[in-house]
């Protein structure tokens, strides 16, 4: 996909380009400043998860365009040991969030769609999407663009 952006995550400093690319793409997709901040935060949390638990991976950012809504998809991928119990990792007692709701559970709450695919020894892929409903004017433009 043309507009797709890939950010390798090898250490903590890579959170900065991941956040910057996410924020830029969110702004291009018409998200408000607040939503762009929440997207950058969710990206930080999943990227931090890679750095802390695996060491390396990548963040893929992809704009989504549907007729009535547009969005930003964030895929955080690593080839680490995988998560044995995904449900527990998304729960409040997870070690990364110290029960406070940061980490993966926090990222899940900031985004609209959130899925984790993982198995022991087969890495982890977190896919999350933030959506924005188009307003009437935008919808008219989008219809015209698609015609």
């Amino acid at each position: 996909m043309n507009d797709e952006v890939r950010v390798p995550i090898n250490d903590d400093s890579d959170l900065v380009p991941a956040r910057a690319e996410g924020r830029a793409l969110a702004t291009r997709q018409g998200f408000s400043r607040t939503d762009a901040t929440l997207i950058a935060t969710a990206i930080s949390e999943v990227a931090r998860n890679i750095v802390v638990h695996v060491g390396r991976g990548e963040i893929v950012l992809r704009p989504l365009d549907e007729l009535r809504r547009c969005g930003l998809q964030v895929i955080a991928r690593d080839e680490g040991p995988g998560i044995r119990d995904v449900e527990a990792a998304l729960g409040e007692g997870s070690t990364t969030s110290r029960g406070l709701g940061l980490g993966l559970p926090g990222a899940r709450r900031l985004m609209d769609d959130f899925q984790v695919a993982s198995a022991p020894g087969r890495g982890t892929t977190v896919t999350m999407v933030k959506w924005r409903v188009r307003d009437e004017l935008e919808l008219m433009r989008e219809r015209r663009r698609r015609a």
Binding site: L15, V16, P17, R19, A20, R23, R33, T34, T37, L38, A40, T41, S44, E45, E87, E92, R98, L100, G101, L102, P105, G106, A107, R109, L110
Partner: protein, 268 residues
């Protein structure tokens, strides 16, 4: 909890660095400070204090007041984003606790319904009533699209069966209600009373179900001596429809229904 001066100093230093060079690296510092504040037990009011102090420091040296206050807004948004996560988590936890309370109240009421049904004089009718009650309530309480409850003896074909499904899933539910579930019965482990299975990409195999079953949750009905006397299956066409709480609720309902069926047999 009161703020800690080192946090205020760090916040001010980070904000001044952001004013000097407004990029993602310096903005990230606000997010990290907010995260640190959450982890160390500081509150939103501590951030407000720290931000006020930082903004005053920034404005003292400001050439462009508008630009400085806009930078202050961006920095504060980042600082508060970790609190937003926690706040949403707290709201979710409150909603979950409320749902749990409602569920517990309903299970208590059900307990007496099961007792009434099992003490009715007509044994066969009572058994059927218990199964109906189980299917209806299990579907509602765990949020299934369809629920089938059966009674059988020693692995034989069910001698009693009841089903419940949403009106919107009537065709699918009706087919499931009549499906042969014996293969699924056999998949409920003997060591645990419950099984949960997801098939997001494919489908849990149910012969004759028509539409695919993407989530399946089942519990065993057991007699006092441990024999399986039946099963309760809850299905959904959506993946990841059930969680651990649903497992616990279904096991509880299965236990209540098992006891009621046993009582019916005693008094029939």
């Amino acid at each position: 909890m009161t703020h800690r001066p080192p946090f205020r100093s760090a916040y001010t230093a980070a904000f001044l660095a952001y004013l000097a060079e407004r990029d993602e690296r310096t903005l990230r510092a606000a997010y990290e400070l907010g995260r640190e504040a959450v982890l160390s037990g500081l509150g939103v009011m501590d951030i407000a204090e720290a931000h006020h102090e930082a903004l005053r420091a920034g404005l003292r040296a400001a050439v462009d007041i508008d630009a400085t206050t806009h930078a202050g807004r961006d920095f504060l948004l980042e600082g508060l984003s970790a609190f937003e996560m926690v706040q949403r988590g707290a709201s979710e936890a409150r909603a979950a606790a409320e749902a749990e309370r409602r569920r517990a109240a309903m299970v208590r009421r059900l307990s007496s319904f099961f007792a009434d049904a099992s003490l009715a004089l007509d044994g066969g009718g009572s058994t059927h009533e218990i199964l109906h009650l189980l299917a209806e309530q299990a579907r509602e309480l765990v949020g299934g699209a369809c629920c089938v409850a059966t009674l059988s003896a020693d692995g034989a074909a069910p001698h009693a069966r009841a089903a419940s499904y949403a009106e919107t899933d009537a065709a699918w539910g009706a087919r499931l209600a009549l499906s042969d579930l014996s293969a699924l019965d056999r998949r409920v482990p003997s060591s645990t009373p419950v099984i949960r299975m997801e098939a997001p990409g494919g489908a849990v195999g149910v012969a004759g179900a028509g539409a695919p079953v993407r989530s399946w949750l089942a519990a065993k009905l057991t007699a006092l001596d441990g024999r399986a006397i039946g099963f309760v299956h809850v299905f959904h066409h959506r993946p990841r429809a059930f969680g651990r709480t649903d497992e616990a609720v279904l096991v509880h309902l299965a236990q209540l229904a098992s006891a009621a069926v046993e009582r019916t047999a005693l008094y029939a």
